[in-house]
């Protein structure tokens, strides 16, 4: 069970998404999950071991690290990706429920082609439209919340080279040095940019769905 399993589930949702939704999914997989697994994890891998403080006092390094990094970037990104992917599961569940209903009708005697049922693409109409739109809304909300949490927790998106720490048991103000600050800043800004792009795609998809429905309604009334 890892990102691959999530990819299988989300890949299933892909069939029922709009064009923009498919682009969003591709961006998510290639520029976020893949980058996280292939690159970012190695950059943050030796985080605490290479966090060095200018003191021999045992415990000072642990305490300073904990003070400056309450929750590591890499874990926040993993949680962000999980939360942002979860609303798509709502759509998957709705589609599965519809298929289940059709199967039940088939068992009760109605004539339905079972092969067609397996490969059927459900159009985004009616209750599915509401589920899909709510899932996009939640995605946007989660992205915004996590971007804000990052900003609030780390005072911006830059990783400083040096941090001054005076938490007990450090004897006085001690210099602590973060490992690979430039590389970490680069990846943080990259992930932030891709988050922003994903948010834009979600907003565009939301507008597209709303405009499509309004246009259809106006055609019906005329």
């Amino acid at each position: 069970m890892d990102w691959g399993a999530l990819q299988t589930v989300l890949g299933g949702v892909n069939k029922h998404s709009t064009g923009i939704g498919k682009i969003w999914l591709t961006v998510l997989f290639i520029f976020r999950i893949m980058i996280l697994v292939v690159a970012a994890e190695s950059v943050w891998g030796d985080e605490q071991q290479d966090f060095v403080c200018n003191t021999l006092q045992p415990g000072c390094r642990n305490v300073c690290y904990d003070h400056f990094f309450p929750i590591s970037h890499i874990r926040l990104w993993a949680l962000q990706l999980i939360f942002v992917s979860t609303p798509a599961l709502l759509v998957a569940m709705h589609v599965a429920y519809r298929r289940h209903e059709k199967k039940r009708r088939f068992r009760n005697g109605e004539k339905i082609d079972i092969e067609e049922l397996k490969n059927e693409k459900f159009h985004i109409r009616g209750p599915l439209w509401w589920t899909y739109t709510s899932s996009i809304f939640f995605r946007i909300a989660f992205e915004a919340i996590f971007m804000y949490v990052f900003y609030y927790m780390y005072d911006g998106y830059q990783m400083p080279r040096l941090m001054k720490c005076s938490a007990w048991p450090c004897p006085n103000t001690v210099d602590c040095f973060v490992s690979r600050p430039t590389e970490k800043t680069t990846f943080t800004i990259f992930m932030l940019a891709v988050s922003g792009i994903c948010m834009m795609l979600n907003l565009a998809e939301l507008c597209y769905l709303v405009i499509k429905v309004c246009w259809k309604d106006s055609r019906k009334t005329t």
């Binding site: 069970m1 642990n62 904990d66 890499i74 874990r75 999980i82």
Partner: protein, 219 residues
């Protein structure tokens, strides 16, 4: 042999579950198993190496670590995930037994082997009760073993061979605490889902039973 086995097991169970059961499987996959594998495991990876005591006495660190962490959080978490998923096997076995019986007698004994009625309903209810029981037991175990769900920054240790009371520092206590609270929250959510499913099934089948008896009385 890894978490993939658990994933396949739960996917198999999904076929015979109610709607709430499927939500439970999704919550276990996404918010517990996935979070455990991609995030939590790495936090606790070097917990022993990064556990530092303010003393040069050999053996003191080892002894203090062992005293404060008899079973590591992450191992308890893994055990909890395994124990909580296992009762679903009862349902899978019962359905397989039904299918086997149908094959043996060469006739259709049930409307569908996966239909939750009769004996399978009892098995399903027992599996739900066991799941809820295991969740509660592990939450209580976490609470009792670690005096709550807080991870302190500093622990004081005076076990032999430490010469006197020594300060020991735990690595990443805040991050560990955040993920522990996450674990507790998802456990509680799963307990709520299990209890809702239990009440829903009991209610549904009591109504069915009552209506059957009522219709028999009318005839």
């Amino acid at each position: 042999m890894s978490w993939g086995f658990l994933r396949d097991l739960l996917s198999g169970v999904n076929k015979y579950s109610t709607g709430i059961g499927r939500i439970w499987v999704a919550v276990v996959f996404v918010f517990r198993l996935l979070v455990y594998i991609v995030a939590a495991e790495n936090i606790w990876k070097y917990e022993h190496d990064e556990f530092e005591c303010n003393i040069k006495q050999p053996g003191c660190e080892n002894v203090c670590f062992d005293h404060f962490f008899p079973v590591s959080h992450i191992r308890l978490w893994a055990l909890q995930l395994i124990m909580v998923s296992t009762p679903s096997l009862l349902v899978v076995f019962h359905v397989a037994y039904r299918e086997n019986r149908e094959k043996h007698h060469n006739q259709k004994l049930h409307k569908s082997p996966g239909e939750i009625d009769g004996g399978l309903l009892c098995t399903y209810l027992i599996s739900l009760i066991l799941k809820t029981g295991f969740e509660t037991v592990f939450l209580v175990l976490f609470y009792k073993l670690y005096n709550g769900f807080k991870v302190p920054r500093l622990v004081k240790c005076d076990i032999r061979p430490c010469p006197n009371t020594v300060d020991c520092y735990i690595s990443k206590p805040t991050e560990k605490m955040i993920f522990l609270y996450f674990l507790v929250a998802t456990s509680c959510l799963c307990i709520v889902l299990n209890l809702s499913e239990l009440s829903y099934l009991i209610f549904k089948y009591s109504i069915k039973c009552y209506l059957k008896r009522y219709s028999k009385k009318c005839q």
